[in-house]
Symmetry: C2
């Protein structure tokens, strides 16, 4: 299995070092400090050598985005696993709080991944944990039934597509859902929850609330409560 040439191992090591250096520069000195020459300096090599590993500065930044997404997903999965309540509502809370905590602890990474007018990005990576959880949430059937009539007809086509994405995400984890459980009304509310979650976190990270919030955590928790209640959770934590 570990059929790796010596050369391949060395190459993998260097690539890992490149990623680590790039990440450290981003965290400590911001996006503009992630420079090919600075990375090379960190590794004790010259800048053109990096072109043996990445086609361009932009390609390296893309890789950096993917790494960030993967790391964040790992953190969120850990938060999810740390919840032993067995209640889906608590799991949702754990992951949402984890997302906020991660974003506040990694503002530069958050900005790069979630707030750049760029190409598709590593959306696959990032969304996985949310999709999986959202799918499980819906499958648990603890969510109140929202009539499909609530959602505008124009959205049906898109929501059906998202429905398929969700079912695929869940089936990867070995769970299968019947169509009628995963109805459009629920899916619509999941999307709306993502809007609120993302909105609050981004506003907090970027400091764009319309006034100075001295302690945003209770505001977040309060929003989370209302969000879960809107979705239809009646569990009491």
């Amino acid at each position: 299995m570990t059929e790796a040439t010596r050369r391949e191992r060395l190459r993998a090591d260097t690539e890992r070092e490149i990623r680590q250096a790039a990440r450290a520069l981003l965290v400590e000195r911001g996006r503009d400090a992630v420079t090919l020459r600075a990375i090379a300096r960190e590794l004790g090599i010259t800048a053109p050598a990096l072109y043996r590993y990445y086609d361009s500065h932009e390609a390296l930044l893309r890789q950096l985005c993917d790494d960030i997404c993967a790391d964040m997903a790992a953190v969120l999965y850990a938060d999810l696993a740390a919840d032993t309540s067995g209640q889906v509502g608590c799991q949702v809370r754990a992951v949402c709080r984890g997302f906020r905590r991660w974003a506040l602890a990694h503002p530069q990474e958050f900005a790069l991944v979630f707030a750049s007018p760029r190409d598709p990005l590593g959306a696959d990576q990032f969304g996985a944990v949310f999709l999986s959880l959202a799918g499980r949430l819906i499958a648990s059937n603890l969510v109140a039934n929202h009539a499909d009539d609530d959602v505008p007809e124009v959205l049906h086509e898109d929501l059906v597509r998202f429905q398929q994405v969700l079912m695929d995400a869940v089936s990867v984890h070995g769970v299968t859902i019947e169509d009628d459980v995963l109805n459009l009304g629920k899916i619509y509310h999941v999307v709306q929850s993502w809007v609120r979650l993302y909105g609050h976190v981004a506003l907090e990270v970027f400091g764009r609330f319309p006034f100075a919030v001295s302690n945003p955590e209770p505001m977040f928790d309060s929003m989370l409560d209302q969000m879960l209640s809107d979705i239809g959770f009646q569990e009491t934590p």
Copy 2:
């Protein structure tokens, strides 16, 4: 009144040209293309000359942010004025739709102003129109009364501060409000609306919805409906 020296006029002209060039570069080729040399090239002068007008590249970017905020505010005020219904609910809709339209038409500007992990920014400029409208909305008393008990105690202090900000913003327009009309419950819901509005717009501009939305406008309108309903608007448009 127009006691301007010839030199002062020339200086003002040049400064305006600098801003225009910077703005055009941002719009057409992105944030990283807004370089001192590129701006100077556009004006037919050399880069160091720009230091007669701005202390640094960063200072010029800050000025650019302020300009963007001012322009956006003008657009939103125009959208507001274009609504002749006289109904506050319709005005709120007009401004929120205007915000979305502006953000989609100016993604680079939006990213620079609303999604950068930076200093305070020209928040004064940008928020003014929202504050004014939110204040009027609340003052119109069409909003259902939300009990103050709904909002967590920890938030009271912050919300009271925001209450003052709102009342100041409204009083600038010659309207005064009694304290009991502008209660904390309402204010809390205004903040929550901002979270959802910003969340949707940012997700759309940055393409970070969890699936491909082919036509996001009805989704936005649908969210707007629910937002207004949550706030307590019963007007029918």
